[in-house]
C-alpha cells in the first residue's frame, strides 16, 4: 500500500488553507472600522445591548456568565460551564467578532458602529 503523500493531498491542503485565508480576510475587511456595542443573546433571545465605550460589568443569564467591558473590549471573565472555552477566549472588539458559550447558549456579538437597515445588506 502506498502511504506516501500524493499531489492531490498537497492540492487539498492548499485549497483548505486558501479558503481559511479568504474567510479570515473577509472577516477582517468586514470587521474593520469602529465598533459601537455588543449584543448579548441567551438562547437566541436578545438580553441586552451594551456600549463598548463605557467600562462596565454585565451579569448574563442570571449569573451563569460574567462579561466585562473595559477599554473598548468585551471579555467573558466567568462562566459556570465545565469547558471554560468562552473564558479562555480573548477579548472581542471588532465588528462581527463574538464570544460564544455553547453549554449556556450565551452569545456575545459585537455590533457595527452604525445602526440601520444597511447592516442587513452588508452582512
Amino acid at each position: 500500500m502506498n502511504t506516501g503523500i500524493k499531489k492531490n493531498d498537497i492540492l487539498l491542503i492548499f485549497i483548505v488553507l486558501a479558503v481559511a485565508g479568504l474567510a479570515y480576510f473577509l472577516h477582517s475587511v468586514i470587521g474593520a472600522g469602529g465598533a459601537g456595542s455588543v449584543t448579548v443573546k441567551v438562547n437566541g433571545v436578545i438580553e441586552g445591548v451594551y456600549n463598548l465605550g463605557e467600562d462596565q460589568e454585565i451579569v448574563i443569564n442570571e449569573g451563569t456568565n460574567y462579561l466585562v467591558i473595559k477599554n473598548g473590549k468585551a471579555d467573558m471573565t466567568k462562566a459556570d460551564c465545565p469547558d471554560k472555552l468562552c473564558v479562555n477566549q480573548k477579548a472581542v472588539s471588532k465588528k462581527h467578532e463574538s464570544i460564544i458559550c455553547l453549554p449556556n447558549k450565551v452569545i456575545v456579538e459585537v455590533n457595527s458602529g452604525e445602526k440601520g437597515e444597511y447592516d442587513a445588506v452588508a452582512n
Binding site: A20, K41, G44
Partner: protein, 166 residues
C-alpha cells in the same frame, strides 16, 4: 474471511482503543484558543480502521466511540457535536478513499477539516447564529494541522499493518 464472532471481537478491541485515545486526549491540556479544536487522537483509530475494516463496521465503531466517550468524559451536548463531526468526517473520508486519488494523509486532513465543519454546523443550529462563522478560518487551519498529524501517524501504522485485514 474472518468469522463473524472474530470480527465482533476485533470491533470491540478497536472501540476500546479509540476510547483509550479519547481518554489520553483529556489528559493533554492543549488549548488552541479556538473553541472545539482538539487533536482528535481517536481519529487515528478511525482512519486506520477505514483502511482495515468494512465501512459499516467503521461507522459502528465511530458512533459507539462517540457515545461512550461522551458519556464518560463529556455530556449529552458534546455527544451531539462529536456525532455530527464524526459522521460527516467519516462520510467524506470514505468518499475520498473510493477514488484512490488521495493518500491516507490527504484523507485524514479532509477528515479533520470536516469534523470541525460538522461541529460548526451543529453549533450554528443550536445557538441559532451565523456569527460562529468567525471561527471558520481557525477551525479549517486547526483541522488541517491535526488531520496532517493524524494522517502521518496513520500512514506509519498502516505501513506496519500491511498483511493484516480486520
Amino acid at each position: 474471511m474472518m468469522l463473524w464472532r472474530t470480527r465482533t471481537a476485533f470491533l470491540g478491541v478497536f472501540t476500546a482503543l479509540a476510547l483509550i485515545f479519547s481518554y489520553v486526549e483529556t489528559l493533554i491540556p492543549i488549548s488552541l484558543g479556538i473553541p472545539g479544536a482538539k487533536l482528535g487522537l481517536a481519529n487515528l483509530v478511525i482512519v486506520t480502521a477505514l483502511y482495515k475494516m468494512r465501512l459499516q463496521e467503521v461507522y459502528v465503531l465511530s458512533v459507539v466511540r462517540v457515545v461512550l466517550s461522551g458519556l464518560i468524559f463529556g455530556n449529552y451536548i458534546s455527544i451531539l457535536y462529536s456525532l455530527a463531526g464524526g459522521l460527516l468526517s467519516l462520510t467524506v473520508m470514505a468518499a475520498l478513499k473510493k477514488g484512490d486519488r488521495f493518500s491516507v494523509t490527504g484523507i485524514s486532513v479532509a477528515g479533520g477539516v470536516f469534523h470541525n465543519i460538522g461541529q460548526l454546523l451543529i453549533a450554528m443550529f443550536i445557538v441559532e447564529t451565523f456569527s460562529i462563522s468567525y471561527y471558520i478560518p481557525g477551525l479549517l487551519a486547526a483541522g488541517t494541522v491535526t488531520g496532517l498529524m493524524i494522517g502521518i501517524l496513520s500512514g506509519q501504522m498502516l505501513k506496519r499493518l500491511v498483511n493484516i485485514q480486520f
